[in-house]
């Protein structure tokens, strides 16, 4: 890809990122209570072995996972139905919220 097209694409991507807006932790917590808590826990440290812990996970990974569930790129019947209801702003809020919970997940050396 060369020339102006590259800049147009970059501008479009930046625009999409900006459209999601700054993450709102309070709104993220409210949405987590509504949608995520039953399986993942409000702090992301759920005891259910089949469901991932989310507390302290990297926010851009969480957002990507939700986008992929919503688009169908990542296939999971349960998550598809929940992620399908989330707006880009909800996804940004939830990703920021769970990333900020006590880090039950760590980088292991």
């Amino acid at each position: 890809m060369t020339g102006p097209l590259r800049y147009i694409l970059a501008a479009a991507l930046l625009g999409a990122a900006a459209a999601a807006g700054a993450a709102d932790m309070k709104a993220g917590e409210a949405k987590a209570k509504e949608v995520c808590q039953a399986c993942h826990g409000l702090d992301g440290n759920n005891p259910t072995p089949d469901y991932p812990k989310l507390g302290g996970q990297r926010p851009d990974y969480l957002a990507k996972a939700l986008r992929d569930y919503k688009s169908g790129a990542r296939k999971n019947a349960i998550m598809a139905s929940f992620a399908g209801t989330l707006s880009p702003q909800d996804i940004a809020n939830l990703a920021a919220y769970y990333a900020a919970q006590p880090p039950v997940l760590v980088v292991t050396h």
Binding site: T48, P49, D50, Y51, P52, K53, G56, Q57, R58, P59, D60, Y61, A63, K64, A73, R74, K75, P103, V104, L105, V106, V107, T108, H109
Partner: protein, 115 residues
């Protein structure tokens, strides 16, 4: 009638054995630690990001549920999850490798905590 009963009884007795023989291997964290060469280059570096096909922070896996780690690796191996490097790496792992890695990374006591 007698035969049907015997067969039913046999099936009832045999089913749990069959289920047991197909159960996932149990993981050995020490063996898992020896198999992390392919994982560490991304998952052991705080703040590391993917390069392709999308850029985002590599997920933290230390302290994750072992069952979920195994499920993720199986999904990469089967193609159900589609990250290119993870698919290539998971394709080389046996069920035992996955169980061992899950036992290592999923250990509840993190060896090194890093946010």
């Amino acid at each position: 009638m007698m035969l049907t009963r015997s067969l039913t009884a046999f099936a009832l007795l045999a089913l749990p054995l069959l289920a047991w023989s197909q159960a996932a291997p149990s993981g050995d964290p020490v063996a898992g630690q020896r198999k992390t060469q392919m994982c560490a280059g991304c998952h052991s570096i705080p703040g590391w990001r993917t390069a392709y096909p999308e850029v985002y922070g590599v997920p933290k896996i230390g302290g994750q549920h072992p069952a979920y780690i195994v499920k993720s690796l199986q999904a990469y191996k089967s193609g159900e999850r589609n990250h290119p490097s993870m698919r290539a790496i998971a394709a080389t792992l046996s069920d035992q490798d996955m169980a061992d890695l899950a036992a290592y990374y999923g250990a509840t006591e993190p060896r090194t905590a890093s946010k």
